[in-house]
Amino acid sequence: MNQSRTSTDLQTVLRQEVEKSAGWRLFIQTVIARAYPRIIGQQREKSWMFFDIFLPIMAVSAYVFVYRAIQAPEDYVGFVIMGGAMTAFWMNVLWSMSSQLYWEKETGNLALYIMAPNSMMAILLGMALGGIVATTLRAGVIVVLGSLLFRVSYAVVSFPQLLAVFILAMVALYGMGMMFASVYLLLSREAWHISNLAQEPVYLLSGFYFPIKNFNFWVALGASVIPLTLGLDAMRQLAFKTGASLGFLSVNMELGILLGLSILFLLAARFLLRYMEKLAIREGRLTESRR
């Protein structure tokens, strides 16, 4: 080791008894630590400004021009901007939550997470929290830029309700991401293909660029399993003049369903994570993709 260090220095650090927390303190420390790379690390990669803002704005613009060309109600432009912002969350859940444990397995981090005394739920929560914070910044920029660019006017009925819908939609969405992450624990390269396959259909089913009221009732109800569907629908009802006229269900009902989905997905994530971890340890698939 470094020759300039005296043996006393070496012995001090080697002899130190290290105090370690457990229980809830460890859980919270883990959540914060795992959220850290998402919040801080991702901001260091400046390319996100192009990929996460410029490209979604381009996609949104196409729909705006179509709606304006066919003289659709002006609120549709706002719908599209809001949908475009929410795609950032879906992309984040799909690529940085669901398939994240697969990437962690490839880099060797997964083994270290499992081997550490922390709870894997804390790791997933940290990933989710970090993802929400980092993506909210991107989504916020899309909303602000899109609104300024296309002169969107908002008519917010209730800010607290809007905030409640957004928070519940995020909890349910990231809960679903945590549940998928558990399932992806056993996958190898097919994880990438599954994420690819799931990306576009959800854009359609969740009504990112149009109100889902246009669907048949049963299709819209089925699509409501994806938390963004009802989240977007309720937020549009609360933020624009057209209000409930273009909404699928009442805001309160959608809030109730989102609450139910949040609880369901979080519980399912917890159960599946334990089950899949045991299965992966038994089958030797925590560190290997091919067996």
């Binding site: 650090v13 105090e19 927390s21 457990a22 630590a33 270290l112 081997m115 340890i281 925590l286 067996r291």
Partner: protein
């Protein structure tokens, strides 16, 4: 006596999935492993790539379930009491690329310290001190993606010691490190164990010198089985009644080298080819056998360039137990799959 690690008939069989129509085949990675590692011991697992060392470490670190037998670490069963084992252990693998490239060295290490519940202030102090010890103070704020392989491995090693585990598993820790860095790491490992008798370290390596220089006891493992387990001295003493020679000779092929093994008094001959010459390692029952080897060489027009009588090494012990050198075993392609 307190044992930090105990394995009892431990084994692991992998099921390798074939195509849709083919049945999965079984691969025995570990078989009937009986080990008792004492608390405070620096224990080495020595074997070629694919011998089962990593499988054993994965089982002991709760990452893989055994298919037979059982194991305890720090007094707890690795399967049924994994949650008791985990706060007491840590592991570092050679060549691992854990952490996040966008985070600095300090941030990566801090993150892993949090997963063990170490308060930030303590973690940051230990990170600074440990980085000083490994000579990386100037890299504390470097993004880990900008580190060289050697520096990255030093960072991984710091991660292992940062949480002050009771039992530390080092899987080929000096893989990819240059000679100087490997020596530094070995010195540090030895010092860490010496400082507290409650600390135990299990090290896997396929470097004979590393095992010989560092370990209190060594288990030699091949094809999933532990072939011998003792102190390096005792293992080498097994060969004291034999005579060992190293011969540098003019080029010859391995078939020619094999013919020497059929001579009376010759126990083992291993052959390594180099550019313009070959090296033969001879294990003879007695000095006299050398005469017949030299005679056969003369008839085959093989010239002796150098001849040296030497003390046995762990490499010789391995050759004696397995019948081939570790290099030959690795070249022969035996592998338990992707460990």
């Amino acid at each position: 006596m307190n044992f930090a690690i105990v394995t009892d008939n431990l084994g692991r069989v992998y099921k390798i999935r074939g195509g849709k129509k083919t049945e999965p085949r079984e691969l025995v990675a570990l078989q009937d492993v009986q080990l008792q590692v004492k608390q405070g011991e620096l224990f080495g697992l020595l074997g070629p790539n694919g011998a089962g060392k990593t499988t054993l470490i994965k089982i002991l670190t709760t990452l893989l379930a055994p298919t037979m037998g059982q194991a305890t670490v720090a007094g707890y069963d690795v399967v049924r009491q994994a949650e008791k084992v985990r706060p007491r252990i840590n592991m570092v693998s050679g060549g691992e690329s854990s952490g996040y490239g966008l985070l600095t060295v300090r941030e990566n290490l801090w993150m892993f310290a949090q997963f063990y519940g170490i308060p930030s202030a303590v973690a940051n102090w230990r990170i600074r001190e440990l980085l000083k010890i490994v000579g990386m103070s100037d890299r504390i704020n470097t993004k880990s993606s900008d580190l060289s392989t050697g520096l990255r491995q030093k960072m991984n090693i710091v991660r292992g010691f940062l949480t002050d585990p009771e039992v530390l598993f080092l899987d080929e820790p000096t893989l990819g490190l240059d000679v100087g860095a490997s020596r530094d790491v070995r010195l540090f490992i030895r010092e860490w164990v010496n400082q507290d008798p409650r600390r135990t370290l299990l090290l896997t390596t396929h470097y004979m010198v590393e095992a010989d220089e560092l370990c209190d006891r060594v288990a030699i493992i091949n094809q999933g089985r532990v072939l011998a387990c003792d102190t390096p001295e005792s293992l080498k003493n097994r060969l004291q009644k034999e005579v060992l020679f190293r011969m540098q000779v003019s080029p010859l092929d391995s078939t020619q080298a094999d013919t020497f093994e059929s001579l009376p008094g010759v126990r083992k001959v291993t052959h390594r080819a180099f550019d313009g010459y070959a090296v033969l390692e001879l294990i003879l029952e007695q000095d006299d056998a050398l005469g017949s080897v030299v005679n056969l060489m003369t008839t085959q027009n093989i010239h002796i360039l150098n001849l040296q009588k030497r003390e046995p090494t762990l490499e010789d012990v391995f050759v004696d137990l397995v019948g081939r050198s570790m290099e030959e075993v690795e070249k022969s392609g035996y592998s338990e799959g992707n460990q």
